[in-house]
Amino acid sequence: MNAINESTKAGKTNFVSTITQKLGPLLGLIILIIIVSVLNPSFLEPLNILNLLRQVAINALIAFGMTFVILTGGIDLSVGAILALASALTAGMIVSGLDPIFAIIIGCLLGGVMGIVNGLLITRGKMAPFIATLATMTIFRGLTLVYTKGNPITGLGDNYLFQLFGRGYFLGVPVPAITMIVTFVLLYIVLHKMPFGRKTYAIGGNEKAAIIAGIKVPKVKVMIYALSGLLSALAGAILTSRLNSAQPTAGTSYELDAIAAVVLGGTSLSGGKGRIFGTLIGALIIGTLNNGLNLLGVSSFYQQVVKGIVIIIAVLLDRKKSA
């Protein structure tokens, strides 16, 4: 009798804990939104929400790729640099007369190639992902400065579709937000409904066992870093369109925001555990903080402090939950 009581009790707490585990980041986001909108009701105005979604898109796209990377137990520090280099190359192609949409596609593919370089260094070169992407980050940054000679690339013309990509609206929703959501849905399916996703988790969970199970681990890893590079370049294209120029120092420290979004979303840095939905929420939390603190008139200096504190609190809560 006792034992039965015990086990049902255990069952219940288990149920509750899986709920909080799945919805923890979402709960955090909701609480944050409530706090911000109580302090400044204009936060909830549709215009502001749409604006927020557009601001979030760039970080979210990078963080989606980062989620795959971190799930395998890796890290990609070069995302911000890839964004800058791809953005500069794209802008360069547009200036030289290539059709802007075509230039964006090529730019994204070049981002993917940069990611493949990361992947090969890590798999063939057997380098630690931290070191490999730290090195390529420096290289891509340097190449960006070489290519742009340190100056912004402007004069991108007035192609309607190109301007729409970063600044426009479709059915009242900012196009970057739509890009983000479509990408999210696609990647959600890949991660949770397709063999590729299962392999990603398997590599992070136990790489040796994954190899023995016949998974082509190097191939999967290269594809994942390529995906990370491609999404960074896509984010770069949005930024280029929004600013109507390519900045040589674009994307500086974006890797940190992306990692923060992944971690806030509950993905473990040691790999094997996490969800891409969490990353979306994580990116929204960071976006809400940025947006909310601006609305509340907090100085940008303090904003950084607050963001750091929020990350610490989130990770501490997560620790408590899983203990």
Binding site: P195, K199, Y201, A202, G205, N206, A209, A213
Partner: protein, 493 residues
């Protein structure tokens, strides 16, 4: 020190591990704790030493209720747990390992190396071993490491020492030494909880036996009042029929042929073949090269020369994914490190090698996945509440069944089983043998690497003996004996 645990309950999530266990340890006794894997032995001891908190029940120490917050507190109060997996810092010296966290210091905080060395030597002398204290712990033999752990326990003035499978990795001589130590500890009034699967040892060294099953205490008896059969019966909860089920399949055509496989420094000119429905046992001493041959065959390690033929066709296997595609499955000796993804569910583990067959159109068909896994769980009698629970919560025997099950999905032609029943209890062992029979009935060819001679003799249709990287002899089931195998394994003719 007298320890009494009464009516202890402990659950992990929905998994009820202890359901009202009683256990009593007297002053200066050696008390064996027996039970199949998953019976709750380690959990009970972890509750005692404060690693886990109990859900219910009382623990008294020398008559007073006492609950430790963590293993460190238990240690400070004289109760030390020597775990099966040794906690060594392999890159640090023996001395540093011995004193980690409790270094002797001068008032200025500097280390008193000389005193520590003297203390270490005193403990090693007491154990009648000589291990240089400057040696790197990682370069010590497993036996030496075990002794270091015991010395560590002695230094804390332990009154109770819990030993979990202390002899699993020891040689005959080291075991004898350990027993001498246990006898002298007993004389000093130290109580010892001795967790082991090895019957012979228990009956040599222990005073009383407590048998656990399914999270409950079945019985506690003085050693002279019981016997082998009774203990096994109580552990398993039923009469054990013969240890090895009868082989029923008869070998068919040759499936796998290995020709002249050579890797410098590991194995040389290895030739053998396996027929469908056949179990070929690979016997040999530790380090003879059996595992290395299998790893090369499966594409995990490279080899210098040689050919692999499958069903009459030469195949190239340079990576495991090629091996899997060709229809080979590999159950490695270390299931936690190489066989399972511990955080994955039973289902996710079982479908991993055959993932793509569940996603013919790109998306994983969850229903066919669930049905397949349900079928396997039933067929292999995996004890688990649901296919969604993490394999880390399963017992050793059930984990091993999951490792074997995951290869069924690829429709294997050849399965390589390296030490298939290591760390698996008596009951589950037989189930695994049965499963091997079932697989060979369906025409699967099995290569079984095993260090347990009875297992090799009991299950193989043919036995190959490996000595120093070469196949030193082949024996049929009929002619094989332990003596013949050992002669070949040690290089005799």
């Amino acid at each position: 020190m007298r320890v009494s645990m009464q009516n202890i309950y402990k659950a992990f999530g929905t998994n009820q591990v202890l359901t009202g266990v009683d256990f009593e340890l007297l002053d200066g006794e050696v008390h064996a704790l027996m039970g199949e894997n998953g019976a709750g032995k380690s959990t009970m001891m972890n509750v005692l030493t404060g690693l886990h908190t109990r859900d219910q029940g009382t623990i008294t120490i020398d008559g007073k209720e006492r609950y430790f917050k963590n293993p460190k507190e238990a240690e400070e109060n004289g109760i030390t747990f020597i775990h099966q997996e040794l906690n060594m810092w392999p890159d640090m010296t023996v001395l540093e390992n011995l004193f980690i966290g409790k270094e002797l210091r001068t008032p200025l905080g500097l280390l008193k190396t000389k005193e520590m060395k003297a203390l270490a030597k005193k403990q090693f002398d007491r154990l009648a071993v000589s291990i240089p204290s400057e040696k790197e712990a990682g370069s010590c033999s497993v036996g030496e490491q075990q002794m270091i752990e015991i010395a560590k326990a002695l230094m804390t003035d332990a009154k109770v020492i819990i030993m979990d499978e202390p002899t699993a990795a020891l040689t005959e001589r080291e075991i004898q030494k350990l027993f001498d130590v246990i006898v002298s500890l007993k004389k000093e009034g130290v109580s010892i909880v001795y967790i082991s699967h090895r019957m012979e040892e228990i009956f040599t060294i222990c005073d009383r036996i407590t048998v656990m099953r399914d999270g409950k205490t079945v019985d506690t008896k003085a050693v002279p009042d019981t016997n082998f059969d009774e203990v096994v019966r109580k552990m398993v909860g039923r009469e054990l029929t013969d240890r090895f089920p009868k082989r029923t399949s008869s070998p068919g055509e040759t499936v796998l042929e290995v020709k002249g496989l050579t890797k410098k420094g590991a194995f040389h000119d290895v030739n053998f073949s396996v027929r469908s429905g056949e179990i070929v046992g690979f016997s040999g001493l530790m380090g003879a090269g059996r595992t290395e041959i299998m790893r090369a065959l499966f594409g995990l390690d490279s080899f210098d020369s040689g050919e692999i033929w499958l069903k009459g066709k030469k195949v190239t296997i340079n990576t495991p994914d090629q091996a899997v595609k060709a229809g080979l499955g590999f159950i490695t000796e270390d299931r936690k490190d190489e066989g399972l993804i511990l955080d994955f569910s039973i289902k996710e583990n079982m479908v991993l090698p055959s993932l793509h067959s569940f996603a013919p159109k790109g998306l994983i068909n969850e229903k066919s996945e669930n049905d397949f896994v349900d079928m396997l769980i039933k067929r292999l009698t995996v004890k688990a509440e649901s296919q969604e629970i993490a394999v880390s919560s399963l017992s050793g025997g059930n984990q091993q069944k999951v490792v074997i099950a995951k290869w069924i999905g690829i429709g294997p032609k050849v399965l390589i089983l390296d030490e298939p029943t290591r760390g698996v209890d008596v009951g589950a062992k037989r189930e695994i043998y049965q499963l091997m029979n079932e697989l060979t009935d369906r025409g699967v060819a099995i290569i079984m690497v095993s260090s347990e001679l009875p297992e090799v003799l009991g299950m193989s249709d043919r036995i190959l003996v490996v000595h120093e990287g070469r196949i030193s002899g082949e024996l049929t089931k009929e002619e094989a004996t332990q003596e013949k195998i050992m002669t070949l394994a040690t290089g005799g003719q």
